[in-house]
């Protein structure tokens, strides 16, 4: 029996893990290949030829730009709302113990724990009941609701690591609560908030299920893509847009990872 700590993995496990990761990544790589195909009408593989012309075609499509613009605006404002609400909630839950604390964390998680279609249809019937017409703001309302949890999770994890004595020390040295927040708390939770904000942005930018219920006639980029998936009209343009969406969503995820990676080394973290 081997008992050395650096024993290498059994071959079967290596193969299974490798195949699993390949299963997760190959389909996404295929998107990159198809963006360059010369085939217009079908999903033929291997592509008969390669071209860059669809990038120019997609660039000149006003509907793509409009959808992209709407998605960016919705994601930015939803992220801002989620940052405020999520941070407040995280601060309240982690700094104090109060009656119903567990309920608050459950309430924050509920919008993503329940299937999106339930959130979507609930909001839609509430809008029609209150006679609120669909607009930019109804989309933001839906998105911010489920983005709060991402910010909340990141902020709660960081708040737990900030030592309480750090805040008391600041107060003892004569800073008031606002100065303590500005100079002690904010620098400590800053990267966690940035990471949470980036993930919230990625989540909102990509959301389609709730959006179909709250958008009315407008189309965000995912709605535009969904229409192309159900009734394909411009396959090459869809291929290019799909590739751009992959690239755009990878950046915030990588950014969020690098921001929270060293989270353990927050100053004063060792209690």
């Amino acid at each position: 029996m081997r008992s050395d700590r650096n024993a290498s993995a059994p071959l079967g496990l290596k193969v299974a893990a490798g195949l699993g990761l390949a299963f997760l990544h190959l389909p996404i790589l295929l998107i990159f290949l198809y963006a360059f195909t010369t085939e217009e009408k079908s999903y033929q593989f291997p592509p008969p030829g390669y071209t860059l012309q669809w990038f120019a075609v997609a660039w000149n499509r006003p509907d793509v730009w409009e959808a992209m613009g709407l998605s960016v605006r919705v994601a930015s404002i939803s992220t801002a709302v989620a940052l405020v609400l999520g941070t407040l909630c995280a601060a309240a839950v982690s700094r104090t113990k109060f009656f119903g604390r567990e309920t608050v964390s459950l309430l924050v998680i509920l919008p993503i724990a329940l299937p999106g279609i339930i959130t979507g249809i609930a909001l839609r019937s509430a809008f029609s009941f209150a006679e609120i017409p669909f607009s930019f703001w109804t989309i933001v309302l839906g998105h911010a609701t489920f983005c709060v949890v991402v910010v909340y999770n990141n902020a709660v994890a960081r708040f737990r690591r900030i030592s309480g004595s750090l805040i008391e020390a600041s107060m003892d040295l004569g800073a008031d609560s606002f100065q303590t927040f500005r100079y002690i708390i904010l620098p400590n939770i800053g990267t966690a908030l940035l990471a949470g904000g980036m993930l919230a942005f990625a989540l909102s930018f990509d959301e389609v299920i709730v959006t179909t219920f709250t958008a009315g006639q407008q189309s965000t980029l995912p709605i535009w893509m969904l229409e192309e998936l159900v009734r394909p009209r411009q396959r090459p343009v869809t291929n290019v847009v799909a590739m751009i969406v992959v690239l755009v969503t990878f950046l915030p995820i990588l950014g969020a990872y690098y921001l929270t990676r060293d989270g353990d080394q927050v100053a004063g973290g060792g209690k």
Binding site: L30, L85, L88, P111, I121, T145, M225, Y257
Partner: protein, 316 residues
């Protein structure tokens, strides 16, 4: 003397922000209330409010002749869920969610185990990002990628043709339930895409629970004569179970409510999400749509309750 006792307690702060700061320090409950009000107003009033309004509507019924909603308390709409065509939808969805969850656990386990026990340093990062990137990348793009793969003229057919295995695909497609005229319009296709899209949610909770298993426990089992299968069955699997259950909450719930994947890749037979969408949209039958949404809520409620008893929440 009096000067010393005075200064040992700092004088109150001056200026509006200083006074406000002192006020909050003395009354932490008011600060707490101020912090909690905006998120609770948003989530508790807007979100929970609309959720309850929706649930309430499931107790109304629709008038068959006028198509208007009859605002009288009744269980008739719930009775409609039990008629065979609707009940089939529920059964089909729950069965699919269960199968997707099982298959996801089987595929996710080796990845999680390797990442937890053998991956070190750079490889740990690669595994982590290798799971996070597909998990977070665009839902629709992932479905689109599978449309490219499963299409008749797509990469899978090409690949099987190269291996001279096309007969296998055709034999599979000619099977009664799982088959169809092409993979992209069959249950098999729906199943594969569901696994692809939701399986990453299974990996991280399993990995978290496996990381808490000390390596010498596995060695002890081997030293005591357990072969790898026995070690897995009696040591590793029971310890990983809370993680598997935690992950299954995601895969099960997400499959249960999805209506876009079966619409794009699948046969024309409906799932719960599609039924909800059709009832509230073209059919205009909000009460029945609401009653359909109650099904996943109740199932998830039971599921979460059982998961909590198994201690799955510690693995999240």
């Amino acid at each position: 003397m009096s000067i010393v006792t005075d200064t040992s307690i700092l004088a109150g702060r001056t200026g509006p922000s200083g006074r406000l700061s002192d006020f909050f320090w003395r009354n932490p409950r008011i600060l707490l209330l101020l912090m909690l009000t905006p998120p609770l107003l948003w989530l508790g009033v807007i979100y929970l409010g609309s959720l309850f309004a929706l649930l309430l509507q499931s107790f109304f019924s629709i008038d068959d002749f006028s198509g208007l909603i009859n605002y009288e308390f009744t269980l008739a709409t719930y009775k409609q869920l039990l008629i065979p065509s609707n009940f089939d939808i529920i059964l089909r969805t729950v069965l699919m969610a269960a199968l997707v969850t099982l298959a996801s656990a089987v595929i996710a386990f080796p990845i999680a185990y390797y990442a937890a026990r053998y991956a070190k340093g750079k490889w740990k990062v690669i595994f982590y990002l290798g799971v996070m990137l597909p998990l977070w990348s665009s839902y629709l793009v992932k479905i689109y990628a599978w449309k490219l793969i499963l299409a008749k003229e797509g990469i899978l057919t090409w690949f099987l043709a190269k291996l001279n295995l096309l007969w296998l695909l055709e034999a599979w497609l000619s099977l009664p339930v799982v088959g169809g005229s092409s993979l992209s319009i069959s249950y098999t296709g729906t199943f594969i895409v569901f696994i692809y899209v939701w399986m990453p949610f299974m990996i991280l909770p399993i990995q978290a629970s496996l990381e808490r298993v000390p390596g010498n426990l596995i060695e002890a089992s081997a030293d005591l004569g357990g072969n790898p299968a026995q070690t897995f069955r009696f040591v590793l699997f029971p310890l990983a179970l809370p993680g598997i259950i935690a992950g299954s909450i995601f895969t099960f719930s997400l499959t249960l409510g999805d209506y876009i994947i079966p619409q794009i890749i699948g046969s024309s037979r409906l799932f719960i999400g599609q039924a909800v969408y059709a009832q509230q949209g073209t059919a205009g039958n909000i009460p029945l749509a609401a009653a359909f949404t109650v099904v996943p809520i109740v199932i998830m409620g039971l599921y979460l309750w059982m998961a909590k008893r198994q201690g799955a929440f510690d693995a999240l």
